[in-house]
């Protein structure tokens, strides 16, 4: 039953994204319901204008009851909430996840997080974090201290 919900929901999200793609977001690869790759373009007039990044979404069969695992791959944006291993510090990906959120809404959240950035620099604890972090960002105990960026 859980499989049914999971596949049905992702199929619906996929067709929505294809029919009505948000500006600057494009599906690069979505062959399976295990993981998708999406391209994210930096918005014009922001520090990331002209740059293109790739996000990887990994889904468990409990999706959407459980949040997807979301990381940047390849060219990692330099941003105070994005670690150089691609892990993203964003509450809706972890403790504030809600099953009504979707791939689309997560992409938009990340895009707006990039757009509101005023200073391109890595997180202050970046070097420590990437040495100690597990492979999945969901295994990190995140504390969300800054909602402004």
């Amino acid at each position: 039953m859980s499989m049914a919900l999971f596949t049905k929901r992702l199929a619906k999200e996929l067709s929505d994204l294809k029919i009505n793609p948000p500006v600057g977001i494009e599906i690069e690869e979505a062959e399976t319901f295990k993981s998708w790759k999406l391209n994210l373009d930096g918005v014009d007039g922001t520090l990331y204008a002209g740059e293109r990044f790739a996000l990887e979404f990994r889904f468990s069969p409990n999706y959407p009851m459980e949040s997807p695992e979301v990381v940047f791959v390849g060219n990692i944006p330099i941003h105070p909430h994005i670690y150089s291993n691609g892990h993203i510090c964003l509450n809706v990906l972890y403790n504030q996840w809600s099953p009504v959120l979707s791939v689309r809404s997560i992409c938009l959240s990340i895009q707006s997080m990039l757009s509101s950035c005023t200073c391109k620099e890595p997180p202050p604890d970046n070097s420590h974090y990437i040495r100690t972090a597990r492979s999945s960002p969901k295994l990190t105990q995140w504390s969300f201290h800054d909602d402004s960026v």
Partner: protein, 517 residues
């Protein structure tokens, strides 16, 4: 005692007692005074006279008792605040069962309390399954017209299937119970227990109840689960955390496990929790290293660096300060004159001084080892004494066969082993206690008590190891009985003195500046 504590206690009484009390309602007072075994909080004065200094009052609760006391608290709050039971439950859990604080804050500003706790008390919007024409579930995108849907009082509506999935995931996979929120993003309304019961399978619901019970005990300062493996009882003890420097609250579960209510470790009287923590840590860090250092090294007479002699002659040159000395007599090498490589100067003045100094700096290490070895010895012996249980059982059978003693008449042996093991535990912790204790006039009494208990324990231990001679069984029994009583009374004397000293602040511990402000 405040009224609420009494209430809490009342709610915990087993049904047997309750029935009895109900019958004797009219002569309640007389009943309580007459009954020695009844632990009743209303009878504080008489209780205090009977209670020993090192004992604390406590109650053991079964899971049913835990459930009942939660229900009683919920009903109480629901009546006072005039809200439905499931909402009272959510509020109590949000306030970690601190009823007084909840009521106070609620009276102050009920709106903000409800908002932060995620409760909406709108009786017109009680969650129930319903079919809504034209509804599309935001999660599964299903839009069948006969879809069953559910909304909490916040109004965020989802289909029944999604709700069940979500709750099952939260309860079964994430072990969540009291903080399960509405599925909508950014909505903090808590899914109350009534709604959960409505939406999940009986199996998941029972798991949910178990988790709730767990958090009830974990959140409550005066409750603690018995730490024994697979034991399901919880112990209630009204000793606050702040008293743990003056009291060692030792409790015994129905399963017979004795443990400290303050820290959950096995019975560690007479040492206070803080001291136990420090001692255990020290032993983990130091004991093996200290033993090795003591056995294999000496210290440089000048800079006190620890030196291991790993071969070669007795002419030592400290690598750190370049001091040259003789390994055998510890005296300066320059004074060895022509008798180099053949030290016969052991008693000369300068060598003597060097050794004295060495002895002084070694003394603290040796002191630690003195206490550690005794501590470890009793721990080891207690383990062996547990093997004695098995031997004792055989012995008890043997006794029944070789003499005319009945089963009940040979129980004294088992009792003796029980007391023995318990006394060894106490003795063990007296050495940690003594290690940190600053010596003064008061400590002499403690040391005398410790020695007396130690001697009594060893005598009883020896007695229990003796083989049984058929013709001497009656004598042996008398001897064991006497010794058992004696050992028990020695333990009592020691604990009484240490506990009294703690409550009076008579003991001074070194390395615990926080205790002597």
């Amino acid at each position: 005692m405040s009224e609420s504590e009494e209430d809490m206690y009342d709610s915990y009484k087993s049904t047997d007692e309750e029935q009895e009390l109900d019958l004797d309602e009219d002569e309640d007072e007389i009943f309580v005074e007459e009954d020695d075994t009844e632990l009743n909080f209303t009878d504080v004065v008489a209780e205090r006279n009977r209670k020993k200094n090192y004992e604390v009052e406590f109650n053991v609760h079964s899971v049913e008792g835990i459930v009942k006391s939660q229900d009683d608290e919920i009903i109480h709050v629901s009546n006072i605040l005039g809200i439905q039971k499931q909402h009272a439950a959510t509020l109590l859990r949000h306030f970690r069962w601190n009823k007084e604080r909840l009521i106070e804050r609620y009276m102050d500003d009920s709106g903000s309390v409800l908002k932060t706790a995620g409760v909406i008390t709108d009786d017109s919007r009680v969650p129930k399954f319903m079919k809504v024409y034209g509804f599309v579930c935001d999660i599964c995108c299903d839009d069948d017209n006969d879809l069953n849907t559910l909304a909490l009082s916040c109004g965020h509506r989802f289909c029944r299937n999604c709700y069940e999935h979500y709750l099952t995931q939260k309860i079964k996979e994430e072990g969540e119970s009291r903080r399960i929120m509405c599925m909508a993003s950014n909505c903090n309304v808590i899914v109350d227990e009534k709604t959960i019961e409505l939406a999940v399978s009986p199996e998941i619901h029972s798991r949910y109840r178990t988790l709730l019970n767990r958090t009830y005990v974990d959140d409550n300062e005066y409750l603690r689960w018995c730490p024994a493996p697979s034991c399901e009882y919880a112990v209630e003890c009204h000793v606050p955390n702040t008293s743990l420097t003056r009291i060692v609250p030792t409790v015994e579960c129905f399963c017979c496990h004795r443990f400290c209510f303050g820290c959950g470790l096995p019975d560690h009287q007479p040492s206070i929790c803080m001291l136990v923590r420090k001692w255990v840590k020290k032993c983990e860090d130091d004991s093996e290293t200290a033993n090795w250092i003591s056995a294999h090294t000496k210290e440089c007479g000048k800079c006190h660096s620890t030196i291991e002699k790993n071969g070669g002659c007795n002419h030592m040159t400290c690598r750190k300060c370049k001091y040259e000395f003789c390994w055998v007599c510890m005296g300066p090498w320059s004074e060895h004159g022509t008798s180099w490589y053949n030290c016969n100067r052991y008693d000369e003045k300068s060598s003597q001084d060097a050794r004295d100094q060495q002895a002084k700096s070694r003394a603290s290490l040796e002191r630690y080892l003195h206490y550690y070895n005794r501590f470890a010895n009793h721990e080891q012996s207690a383990k062996l004494d547990r093997e004695l249980y098995n031997k004792t059982e055989k012995k008890m059978e043997e006794m029944q066969q070789t003499s005319d003693l009945s089963w009940i008449e040979v129980q004294f042996l088992k009792k003796a082993v029980d007391i023995l093991v318990q006394c060894r535990m106490t003795l063990k912790w007296t050495y940690a206690f003594a290690f940190y204790l600053v010596r003064n006039n008061q400590t002499e009494i403690f040391e005398d008590n410790q020695r007396d208990l130690e001697m009594a324990v060893e005598q009883l231990s020896e007695l229990l190891e003796k083989p049984i001679e058929a013709e001497k069984i009656t004598e042996l029994k008398q001897e064991v009985l006497n010794k058992t009583v004696y050992v028990g009374s020695r333990r009592e004397v020691l604990l009484e003195d240490t506990a009294k000293g703690l409550s009076e602040g008579r003991w001074e511990f070194q390395g615990f500046e926080e205790l002597h402000e």
